[in-house]
């Protein structure tokens, strides 16, 4: 637990990070810095999105796999790192 916490703290202290969410294999957020409703919304939406992206990548090349997803929007950038059905979601403000 300490490792996870420490890792997440490192990420959260980076410049521009708005929030981090750690989602486990069932799609339930385990660790989050945002409020509950936002967290659940992000977890739900990004889980399906990541699954779709992963299936797209593997459809093209079955030996390939999805490693990282970055969604850049006008206001911020959402980064999703999938691993073993877990998701690490980070939302960052781009600096400009």
């Amino acid at each position: 637990m300490a490792d996870v916490d420490e890792t997440l703290k490192r990420i959260e202290s980076h410049k521009g990070v708005i929030g981090t969410i750690l989602v486990n294999g069932d799609g339930i957020p385990v660790r989050t810095t945002l409020d509950n409703s936002t967290t659940s919304q992000y977890a739900r939406l990004l889980r399906s999105f990541t699954a779709l992206a992963s299936s797209a990548v593997r459809d093209v090349d079955p030996q390939n796999d999805l490693t990282f997803v970055r969604i850049r929007s006008k206001k911020h950038e959402i980064m999703v790192a999938p691993e073993n059905n877990n998701l690490l979601i980070v939302i960052q403000n781009p600096c400009e």
Partner: protein, 801 residues
């Protein structure tokens, strides 16, 4: 009735009755008596009374006698509206007339019709008009009586029916033959066949041709009527077609609903977080996340800088002229503070925009003459060109200053006596932003908040100050063996909370005499360690030692140029590139590359678009260098009449740079257009020489030239080339330079003797390249020159392709 000689019947007498009389007797015209009821019965006594009262004046006076003789009591007065008898009234004189008038005799309306006696009409005697003749002709009359025959000498002649004429002949013959014709009664005997009993049979007349004559019936066309019109009836019958369609009904279906997010309880959370897989996941993914975060922090990869720079007019590849000229935008001068002073450095305030404000650092050049005026950094704003907004008090003349990029309220300045001064203007920044009115009408003055102590100051003038980013590591090194010329490079860029811990990184410049260069003292600079650094360049004024440093990003190379003006006539400028190693031993650095540059370099600036393209101006030339292209400058200009005293790249156009001259003219050069002459020359924009040029991109582009006493701001806008063309240009330039030098080496082998003779002189390689298209052969021209009494003279055209 008979008419009297006057024209009216005897029974009546026309009267004129005055209105008084009319009123008296109640027979006013058109009121009491009208056309419809013209009769008025007057009492005889009244008339007599009136006659007596009024005597001759009375209207009744002409009929006086008659009235008196009148047998009855009432007399009739008739209103004669039509004046038939001459006057408006007439009086009826006799009772019979009165009766007659009042009661007209009844007209017998029912006339007795005579009843016609119903008598049958009597036959009249007929008069013959000759018509019995015609009737008689048509009547059939027996002319003789019918004959009776009995059997007395009757000769019976039997005749056939064949010929009737024969019968007549025979009859005549018999009649003649008989002795007593009148007694002979001719008796015709019918044929025996006729005497036989008759039997009738049918006979068709059509069997024999001539047995009958017939008039065949035929259709007479006169009696056939062609029917031209016939009544018809029409009925519009709609064609009906039954159709049907079926809509697809989409039934909305919830894919999922969530009323409440599923949450783990605390114990579950703890167990999950202890899970190895989760830890692994975090551990493996964290570096990626950090990397991505850092990338985001560093730069925005999605911005297209070129598109962001260009406006609508300028987008795209363009090959026109820069049509706008340098327009004097603003001149800043202040009588109190900037009089008789020279401007040594100039900077735009990085964040206060709107009225773009800028700094001026003013140092007094003639302190003896103008008195002990304090040196000042003056803030000017565009809204008020003659009054400075803020003054910063300096301990001594400031030659260079700069804003801290992370906190524009911190300003560092380097003074001529080697001290570094720091100002914090956060209290005064409201003046700059025009938020607070200056009621006292005096310019606020801010004192410095920190200054390096006199003991540990630099030994020579600080010619440039730069802010370095936070990632610098600093090691101080003191080399007591050499006279040190320390140039402060910067403070660290830190967030505001760490501003108190300042570290000075000193650049040491070592003087030593190097026999390789023939007893001319040269200077080299050593640097301290650092990690990744920003670009650093020092702006050297025309003082003894000018040094320009470049720090190459991520590779820690120095690009420094030292100028050494010695008492000797000859001046040698050396461009050195340093690469210190990672361990950070500063004094082991060696110059990577040395160029001999003849004149003092006063500007060395990297192109804001290319990391490795450097513009240098010095003496009467300027040159463009590329790091890595160690052979020489990519482009070196011709020798100008006047010294180039300032230069800067355009911030928005990669191929454009500005050169300021000693005679006060500014030139706009465009590499892609023409490398041998400026695009635009704005001559004599100031009286004195241009000492500093700093570009700033506001709306459009502004550059301003800094002069001796007055700061002028010019605005210039034009078009720009896309980055790719410039890149290609520089690539081609590099290649051509290499190629040329290879060829040059071959050439020099031939001219080795000449080389040795000219060893003292510096040869330049000219590579002006005409770039019409990107795939063009470049022309090479090389000039050799020599210096005769300090004046450069072009020797000849050595080689051209």
């Amino acid at each position: 009735p008979e008419l009297s000689p006057e024209g009216h019947p005897d029974d009546i007498f026309p009267l004129v009755l005055t209105s008084a009389t009319q009123e008296l007797f109640g027979c006013r015209a058109d009121e009491d008596v009208t056309e419809k009821s013209p009769y008025k019965l007057l009492q005889k006594d009244d008339i007599v009374l009136d006659m007596r009262t009024r005597a001759a004046v009375s209207d009744f006076s002409p009929v006086k006698q008659i009235v008196l003789d009148y047998p009855e009591e009432e007399m009739l007065l008739v209103f004669d509206a039509d004046f038939t008898h001459g006057q408006s009234f007439y009086l009826v004189l006799t009772p019979e007339a009165k009766n007659r008038i009042l009661k007209p005799p009844e007209i017998e309306a029912t006339e007795v019709f005579e009843a016609e006696v119903n008598k049958p009409p009597q036959p009249k005697h007929w008069i013959s008009l000759g018509s019995e003749k015609e009737i008689g002709e048509d009547c059939l009359k027996e002319t003789r009586e019918k004959a009776l025959h009995n059997n007395t000498n009757i000769c019976i002649i039997t005749l056939g029916t064949q010929s009737s004429s024969l019968i007549c002949l025979l009859t005549l013959l018999l009649a003649l033959l008989s002795p007593c014709p009148h007694q002979l009664k001719l008796q015709l005997r019918v044929d025996r066949t006729f005497r036989m009993p008759l039997s009738f049979s049918d006979h068709n007349s059509a069997d024999a041709k001539d047995s009958h004559v017939q008039c065949a019936p035929y259709q007479d066309s006169r009696f056939s009527i062609k029917k031209l019109q016939s009544d018809r009836g029409t009925q519009a019958v709609p064609r009906l077609q039954s159709k049907s369609c079926q809509t697809l009904r989409m039934v909305p279906k919830d894919t999922f609903t969530q009323y409440e997010p599923r949450v783990f309880s605390v114990e579950e959370l703890e167990t999950i977080l202890q899970d190895e897989s989760l830890k692994n996941c975090c551990a493996t993914q964290t570096p990626r996340i950090l990397h991505a975060l850092q990338q985001e922090e560093i730069m925005n990869v999605f911005i297209d800088d070129w598109k962001a720079l260009g406006t609508g007019l300028e987008a795209g590849d363009w090959s026109g002229q820069a049509s706008d000229s340098l327009v004097l935008h603003q001149a800043f001068a202040d009588q109190r503070f900037s009089k008789d002073k020279k401007i040594s450095c100039l900077n735009w305030h990085p964040t206060i925009y709107g009225k773009v404000q800028h700094f001026k650092a003013i140092s007094s050049e003639e302190p003896a003459l103008s008195g002990p005026d304090p040196a000042l950094i003056v803030f000017y704003s565009f809204s008020d060109p003659s009054n400075p907004q803020l003054l910063l008090e300096c301990p001594d003349d400031i030659l260079a200053f700069g804003f801290s990029p992370s906190n524009p309220n911190i300003i560092v300045g380097g003074s001529v006596n080697g001290q570094v001064v720091l100002w914090d203007i956060s209290a005064h920044v409201i003046y700059l932003q025009d938020l607070k009115d200056n009621k006292e009408n005096t310019t606020p003055v801010a004192r410095f908040c920190a200054i390096s102590p006199v003991e540990s100051r630099h030994k020579a003038q600080i010619t440039d100050v730069q802010w370095l980013p936070q990632t610098f590591e600093v090691q101080k090194k003191i080399l007591p063996d050499y006279s040190q010329l320390r140039i402060p490079s910067a403070e660290k860029l830190k967030p505001l909370e760490d501003v108190n811990t300042k570290l000075f990184v000193g650049m040491e410049v070592k003087h030593f005499t190097n026999p390789k260069f023939g007893n001319r003292p040269t200077t080299l600079a050593t640097i301290f360690s650092y990690m990744s650094a920003r670009k650093l360049w020092l702006h050297p004024p025309k003082f003894l030692y000018n040094q320009c440093f470049y720090l190459f990003q991520n590779q820690c190379t120095f690009f420094s140029q030292t100028h050494d003006r010695t008492l000797a006539i000859k001046r040698i400028c050396i461009m050195c590139m340093f690469i210190p190693d990672e361990s950070g031993r500063p004094h082991s650095a060696k110059p990577l590359l040395c160029f001999n540059y003849h004149w003092r370099v006063n500007t060395m600036q990297r192109s804001p678009f290319f990391k490795d393209i450097i513009l240098t101006t010095g003496g009467p030339t300027f040159a463009i260098w590329k790091e890595g292209a160690v052979e020489g400058p990519l482009v070196a200009s011709q020798y100008f009449e006047h010294e180039c005293t300032a230069g800067c790249w355009s911030l928005s156009r990669p191929a454009v740079f500005f050169i300021g001259k000693e005679d006060g003219s500014a030139e706009v050069w465009d590499l892609l257009k023409n490398t041998s002459e400026p695009l635009q020359v704005h001559a004599h924009i100031s009286n004195s020489k241009i000492t500093c040029m700093k570009p700033w991109t506001a709306s459009g582009e502004k550059t301003f030239a800094l002069l001796r006493r007055v700061c002028l701001i010019y605005s210039l806008s034009g078009r720009f080339y896309t980055q790719t063309t410039i890149e290609k240009y520089f690539e081609l330039e590099t290649e051509s330079l290499k190629n040329y030098l290879k060829g040059e080496d071959g050439c020099t082998k031939q001219n080795k003797k000449m080389e040795e003779v000219k060893r003292q002189m510096v040869r330049y390689v000219f590579c002006p390249v005409q770039m019409g298209t990107l795939v063009q052969k470049s022309k090479f021209r090389s000039y050799g020159y020599t210096r005769l009494r300090g004046i450069p003279v072009k020797l000849n055209l050595l080689k051209s392709e």
